[in-house]
């Protein structure tokens, strides 16, 4: 039987990120997430080196692995060339493969991310497009964005973009052939299968929590229990 540790060690992110840790804590000192959340990348590295599946399972079901912002500041500074942020990527993959990400509030947010980014990429060919940055979901964008959003055809024309049209230029519509190639890449490489797993486990959790998928989406996008900061 493949253990959790075995699965982790087979992940390319883990292979590229884990050498040997001397527990100096430089990663924690430089980490923006450690400053904001109850999070310590040094302990993550410590934990994965123990080869203890019980401890790993607890970690994979926790909020802890979802705090990292993947800025990779840790990679620059580690004197032993470890990358705690890369180890986090391997842990997140495994947590989603197992369906354990739904056990924590921060982990459940993968549903919102999958729905938003998965749809943007496969429907438009971009991770972000102006049409989906709705001011009511992005109050932090402020009144200028609200103005741009409501006049976006005219504003984008003024600054020489090719918004919603075919051909080259900023914001041009991605042609059907290119979109189909992108979708086909997701199909053959397991991208669709992986996102389907996130969807399936999330819908199961929504049912368990007595929510329909829309309410669950809003829960994963908006809710914060206020228990994540440690400082």
């Amino acid at each position: 039987m493949t253990t959790l540790s075995d699965s982790l060690k087979a992940d390319i992110h883990f292979i590229e990120s884990m050498n040997s840790c001397m527990n100096c804590g430089v990663c924690t000192a430089i980490c923006p997430s450690a400053e904001f959340y109850n999070y310590d990348p040094r302990i993550i590295v410590d934990t994965v080196q123990r080869n203890d599946d019980e401890v790993l399972e607890t970690l994979l079901k926790s909020d802890t692995i979802w705090y990292c912002g993947e800025c990779m500041s840790c990679k620059t500074r580690c004197p032993r060339c470890n990358t705690p942020g890369g180890i986090i990527m391997a842990l997140r993959k495994l947590s989603q493969e197992k369906g354990w990400f739904t056990e924590s509030e921060k982990g459940r947010q993968q549903f919102a991310l999958k729905r938003v980014l998965g749809n943007n990429i496969l429907a438009y060919g971009y991770c972000v497009t102006p049409d989906i940055v709705k001011p009511e979901m992005h109050p932090e964008q402020g009144p200028i964005w609200e103005w741009i959003y409501h006049h976006r055809d005219e504003v984008y024309e003024k600054v020489h973009s090719n918004y919603h049209r075919s051909g080259a230029g900023a914001l041009r519509q991605v042609d059907d052939e290119s979109l189909n190639e992108l979708r086909q890449i997701f199909e053959v490489t397991g991208g669709n299968e992986f996102m389907a797993k996130i969807e399936t486990y999330s819908i199961q959790k929504a049912e368990e929590m007595g929510m329909d998928s829309e309410s669950y989406f809003l829960h994963t996008y908006m809710d914060n229990n206020g228990q994540h900061g440690g400082k």
Binding site: I12, G69, M72, S73, Q110, K114, G125, V128, W147, K158
Partner: protein, 356 residues
């Protein structure tokens, strides 16, 4: 001896940047929030510097934001990037120039991983062939678009119409830069000056008459953190990190912030509004914010482009105080007009942050 040592370290963090014939890889964030920067970049390269840049309609997202939000697997993003390399190859180009720090980091990481694990490159080639029937050659040269502008900073200086100086006093403008984590923190040798002594932006600033300030939190993350901004519930992380940077740079009274990464530019601009609404704090002079420019916008202003043609009206923090210092003429009432000259109305005014 000491100087030689420093010179050696500096040499380790230089990079080869192709001289011409660039394949352009578009940024999802830049085209959404700073589309005028893209246009300015392509126009400067083509019409001011006489270079060939291919803007390929078939190019798509690299899926990098999905990858770093952990919803896109590594095999998938590698194959999407391989398709970009195939499009570049088919178009007859060898020099890949992404306009996004996330994409640049991803291209760099993937090329590195394929070098370390050739079997992954082989598998990617199989995936790409199966999905699209395409084949690719890896780029001969990979440079971020800011590297390209850096390379030609002196040529741009020779054509400049305005300097990064206060025309009223002759004082060089004081500039704080923000490099963007994935430019050089993952692979320091791939960025000009590495992660510790980033020079890609400060090199432009000094070439065009300004002074670069090495403020304490210069290297700190802007706070994007992918899921930490994209999910509304996490945005406290994002704004807190930007606030840390503003507090670090404010004592130096910078005339503007210059950014490398399109996402960072958006955050450092928009979070000044958010912080003003949350806490009544503003970081510029007299209740205004600190203007934020992309490096393309900075180059375009120096070269005499119209501020509204390059999209400076899309910034939340008003840029007019900076334009006035540099002596750049502009038509105030044209700011919120469309291409036909029709008025599009004025955006709402923030509660505390002063705007034009």
């Amino acid at each position: 001896m000491k100087l030689e040592g420093k010179q050696q370290i500096w040499n380790d963090y230089q990079k080869e940047i192709a001289n011409d014939q660039y394949y352009y890889a578009r940024s999802c964030i830049r085209q959404t929030f700073f589309p005028g920067s893209e246009w300015a970049y392509l126009d400067i390269l083509g019409n001011k510097l006489g270079k060939t840049v291919f803007d390929d309609p078939k190019h798509t997202t690299c899926t990098g934001i999905g990858y770093h939000s952990d919803v896109v697997p590594v095999e998938t993003i590698m194959t999407v990037v391989a398709r970009h390399f195939a499009l570049m190859t088919e178009a007859g180009f060898e020099n890949m120039t992404p306009s996004c720090i996330t994409s640049f980091g991803i291209y760099t990481e993937i090329l590195h991983t394929w070098e370390q694990h050739p079997e992954m490159e082989e598998k990617t080639r199989e995936f790409l062939w199966k999905a699209t029937g395409r084949e690719f050659r890896k780029p001969r040269n990979l440079a971020h678009t800011s590297d390209v502008i850096y390379k030609f900073r002196n040529e741009i200086a020779a054509q400049k119409k305005y300097s990064l100086k206060d025309i009223h006093t002759g004082r060089p403008l004081q500039v704080v830069d923000h490099i963007g984590c994935h430019y050089a923190k993952m692979f320091p040798a791939k960025g000009i000056g590495g992660a510790e002594f980033p020079a890609v932006l400060s090199g432009m600033v000094t070439a065009w008459g300004g002074e670069s300030i090495d403020y304490p939190e210069r290297r700190h993350c802007c706070g994007f953190g992918f899921r930490n901004y994209l999910v509304l519930a996490n945005r406290g992380f994002s704004v807190a990190n930007s606030k840390k940077k503003f507090e670090s740079m404010q004592p130096y009274e910078p005339d503007f912030i210059i950014t490398n990464c399109p996402g960072c530019a958006m955050f450092l601009d928009k979070w000044q509004y958010t912080i003003s609404e949350m806490e009544g704090i503003t970081y510029g002079h007299n209740g205004y914010g600190i203007p934020v420019l992309t490096y393309e916008e900075m180059a375009a202003l120096v070269l005499g482009y119209d501020p509204w043609e390059i999209g400076l009206q899309m910034h939340q923090v008003s840029v007019e105080p900076l334009l006035d210092k540099m002596g750049i003429p502009y038509v105030p009432e044209a700011k919120y007009k469309n291409a036909k000259g029709e008025d599009m109305g004025h955006p709402a005014y923030p509660t505390y942050l002063k705007v034009y």
